[in-house]
Amino acid sequence: MIKITNLHKKFDQLEVLRGIDLEIQKGEVVAVIGPSGTGKSTLLRCINYLEQPEQGTIAIGEVSVDAQSSTPKEIKALRHQSAMVFQSYNLFKNMTVLDNVLQPLVTVQKMPRGKALEEARGYLKQVSLLDKENEYPSRLSGGQQQRVGIARAMAVKPQIILFDEPTAALDPSLVGEVLEVIRDLAKKHTTMLIVTHEMRFAREAADKVVFMADGQIVEQGPPEQIFGNPQNERTKNFLQLSQR
């Protein structure tokens, strides 16, 4: 359902993505692991077109964009196919929890308010934050804010949700509640691409694990294979270091 072909991205002279090919099936949960600075986040940001890649194609569902000939209209259409959950949550601080989740529905999808309210509350229920709907983000813990971020991403009704290190900014004690929500989504077969440093989580929740290094995908496969029997030297080294 998602097909990324030969994706390249440079920041000035620095080549961050050097030809990424990746396919994700509908309902699949893919975890991206790898050392810092290898372009994992950039890959996600390119899929959401927050960064414009130089070369390559991104196809999600019916929409396909070629980086070298992309039009604003295509980019907009592609963006509607995915939703991003950010490391630093990036909630709209001037809006209540409910209003944050309402934005994709009311402002973007132009849904009637009554129907949107019902739907937004449904998403908040799924992340167990219905009781906080009138709170402002500053009153919430990091874990709660990130769960609102996930609810907001669900409201986009995307083909795929992109998680950019969703627990990296959290207190260790709050990581669990966020991973729980993501696991829950995985059980419901939500298509997800998750950049994470939580190896145990990747192992348990992902259908496929992608190991990236230096702007390339070094190895990919089911978690049992990547964690249990990695083929590539670099994967072995990385896993050894991260399991210490």
Binding site: N48, L50, K76, R79, H80, S82, A83, M84, F86, S88, N90, L91, F92, K93, N94, M95, T96, Q103, P104, T107, V108, Y136, S138, G149, R152, A153, A155, V156
Partner: protein
Amino acid sequence: MDFEFIVKIIPQLIAATKHTISLAILSLVISLTLAIIISSIIYYNVKIITPILKVYVSFFRGTPALCQLYLIYFGLGNMGIPFFAKMTGYTAVVIALSLNMSAYMAENLRGALSSVEKGQSEAGISIGMSSLQIFSLVVFPQAFRVAVPSLSNSFVDLVKGSSMAFTIGVAELMASANMAGIATYNFFEAFFVAAIIYWIITICINFLQKMLEKRLNRAY
């Protein structure tokens, strides 16, 4: 101190205060509108227009307001352009105050706009909001809250700055006080009452500012 004189001139100075307040409010509305437009253009770094607006801001912050007023009222009035030739002193003051204050407000708003984290704009983009929606629903409301203290200072400056209208014969508070003073040589009393009236207006503005801040700070 001639208290009898003070009591006598108070109604007449308060009547003139009407003009002071209308000058300030009119200039506030115009300068704030200009400042929002200018600061958002500079914030989004729109090609060609941004450098022009930066020169505008620099000019109006870098020259005395009185000089700007004379440039508009006497200078442009003398250039044979029908609008400026027929312009009243009142209009000239509104134009001068608006242009002058818009430069200061634009600078303050620009700072406030950049205080809103880029991440929130990115989140807006990623859920499919348009640039205009992101600006008006997310970035501007937060920047406005940050800018309220400096914007209300600007409003106070407008009230005080309107006193320069006196120099081109607009019958506002200062002019009225001067007139009362000249008639009887009670200059101290006349300008003292004027000063007190300005001060009361400023205190009221500061009070309104506190109420507005309280309201805007609910989310934080």
